[in-house]
Subunit: 251 residues, 4 copies
């Protein structure tokens, strides 16, 4: 235990356009943010946007499902931002591909392919960030908010669906991990939370869907705002799961 | 549909010391608040506190389990605050008494007595406030936040317990009502939400409990803050259920 | 603790045509059955049917929501079947009326009317039968199966629905009671279980529904068979909840 | 669609001592059973036992997590039992190792090692057996019971736990698969079900645990009996999930 006060950062995995970007911009209002995505292409415009708005951001192309890639990312983070870091917030927003496909038409490779982002990626990400979440130099009271690890989930985290074995398995799995880590790291002061995003998110990709009903898609900025809210909760009052749905969603 | 813009208020049932007061103070930062409690005694200090802090508050002793009492309360609210009202936020924070008692030692009267605050009270309260939640003069867009109805729940809303038949039944019941109203009034733009308060709340009454572990009790101000957060969510992104627990809680 | 061996009976509340009758016929293969229903009319044909098949049955018109009515029913049971009784199985199959109705169009009376069968009736029934469930003269080992209390539930026990506040509240409530009693009376050797009947039941009333798809309605005899199966489980291996759905049901 | 009537068999994966053996013996009362386990050693005594009791059993050492191994097992089954087979019942009873271990002390290999039996094994097993479940030669009505696929689950399928990330993830995952396959294959007449085994099972391994309280461990024969009961349910009345707990279990 040292008396130095490590510098706080936020890390967002799955910082693509849409939800990931919105989360990154929100947390960049408070912390230097590290953005992880598969390809640099999706990172660059976001990095520009954040720095133009006075924030500080580093983008690192990373395959979170690969422990070696994740390790070298952590090394690069320390190289760029300093070695005495504390992760104030880590957001796991990597989505397995949603695909509805008859079970018997899926091969093992395809099945595992759907699972890996959740299973391996979430494991690697939590494994890399949790040690830096409790890294407060012995001065938790110097920090405004408890360190926070948030997993983005979906309706399929709550119930399976026809043709959705792999997808549901990955979302149930993420929720299992979130609940387990909450119980393990909560008593150490880490806030672990799971968000059930239930509905169509309003992004470039979903343009054209649900345009007939006003406000029928989830606003990514409000996913971000909700995650930020979770982050601000003190350890007396942690929320471990919340859902987000448009007002017209049936469920 | 008229073109007048009704005046927004917040109503809190169960505005006793502790959680109810904290919620009242929080919503009084934005709205005139109407506080309902069984006895005037518990209302007066809170009213003073709110007005001294620049808020506006009305306290009305009400038996929410009694439809006549609730009706006359609504009349008095209109008499005091004007007849063209809109309820921006209605918080149902009335707790059934928690009592763990062998099932066979409970009589019907006692059993129903435990249920009434939840069953009858929640019904009356929702019945009285929901019409004023959609009362926006046809101008929902003039209001910053969607009208919000929040029910305070508990762990016993999720699972029963030995000796807790009546308590669990009342908490399950409140959750059933919250889920049903969310589905019915959501599409009308009303945000209905249920909060699972799981842990000891830090109040006068619980002084002495859990003092050995720092921050081990839920901060009522953060229940209030969380309710306020729910209220601010736009209709694209409603949270219908969240839990609140201290970091050390086992669950 | 006496050395006499009380006589085992089964009691079914809600022994109307359809599910109740099927349950009664099934348990009558093993025990004298006591059938409770609001009116004698629905009991008589069932009593004839059971006795013609070699069973023994007593029908008592009872308002289970009324403690006095339930008390006098228990007295009559002892008058007819002897005072040294043990309830081997008690089935609570009383349904609140299913009605989907806008919340604001329901009055308190109507709302409570929907709740009473569940709340008051289940309380009365459990209160009257549980003492006779542990009444084994100190010889639990003399009985083939542990005493069993089963509550018939519905999908609405798991989630609310638009216009279903009262119905969902009653079904959530029954489930809360079942879970609580299971935890309280399980350690005393009583098996308390909740069955989620999710789908249309194949009865006289539902003739004409779903006829286009073969076997698309739940067979009441299989509800009965499932309840009987629950009854046969030894105390090492209690099932506390199961669902029953036709193969084509979506959920 | 042919007019031949394929021969019905049952397949049990995880046919080790304890639960798997009990299930095998129960289903062997009705069908030739195929028993899969990692090693021949655990199969031989069980095979002898079944054949001595008049049953018919084939044991095949199989690594269900390996698609090649599973494929050659299916070939061998057809070689031994005939190629025109129908799987009447397939039971997936392969347990991931239960290990409670601090998250940060687990490596990726270990983590995935805990997951594979559930993820890969369940996938392979369902993939290999489901085609033979709908293989009824176009005569489903010739068979007494609908084809049944049952997954053995655990409490950790419902909630996570400290140090149980991998275990909970695997159990949540199995449940997700069971729910998804139930919705996909139910309408085809296949009964898919998930059993939550919550408590210590009474086996050789658990001798010495909980001996102070009589009947405090789950009887493997009653797991088997419950699975058999599921199998007998007609398609009008499928149970998709049930729990099994000793009467003294707290939950």
């Amino acid at each position: 235990m040292t008396s130095s006060i490590p510098k706080s950062i936020a890390i967002i995995a799955g910082a693509g356009p849409g939800t990931g970007s919105a989360i990154a911009r929100r947390f960049a209002q408070a912390y230097p943010v590290v953005l992880l995505a598969r390809s640099r292409g999706s990172l660059d415009p976001l990095l520009r946007d954040i720095t133009q708005n006075g924030g500080s951001a580093v983008g690192i192309p990373t395959d979170v499902t690969n422990p070696t890639s994740m390790d070298s990312t952590m090394d690069e983070i320390k190289a760029q931002l300093g070695s005495d870091l504390r992760v104030a917030a880590a957001i796991y927003n990597v989505a397995g591909k949603f695909s509805r496909k008859p079970f018997l038409e899926q091969g093992m490779e395809e099945f595992l392919g759907s699972l890996e982002p959740s299973v391996k990626g979430a494991f690697n990400f939590a494994h890399a960030t949790l040690p830096l979440m409790v890294n407060d130099g012995g001065h938790p009271q110097k920090y405004k908010y408890p360190p926070t690890l948030i997993f983005t989930g979906a309706t399929a985290a709550l119930k399976g669906g026809s043709g959705l074995s792999a997808f549901a398995m990955s979302k149930f799995g993420i929720r299992a991990m979130s609940q387990s880590l909450a119980r393990e790291f909560g008593p150490k002061g880490v806030h672990v939370s799971h968000a059930i995003i239930d509905g169509i998110i309003n992004t470039e990709k979903t343009k054209g869907y649900g345009e007939d009903v006003p406000d029928s898609k989830i606003d990514p900025n409000w996913i971000a705002e909700s995650y930020w809210f979770l982050h601000t909760q003190p350890r007396t009052s942690f929320t471990h799961e919340l859902d987000l749905r448009p007002y017209v969603e049936t469920w």
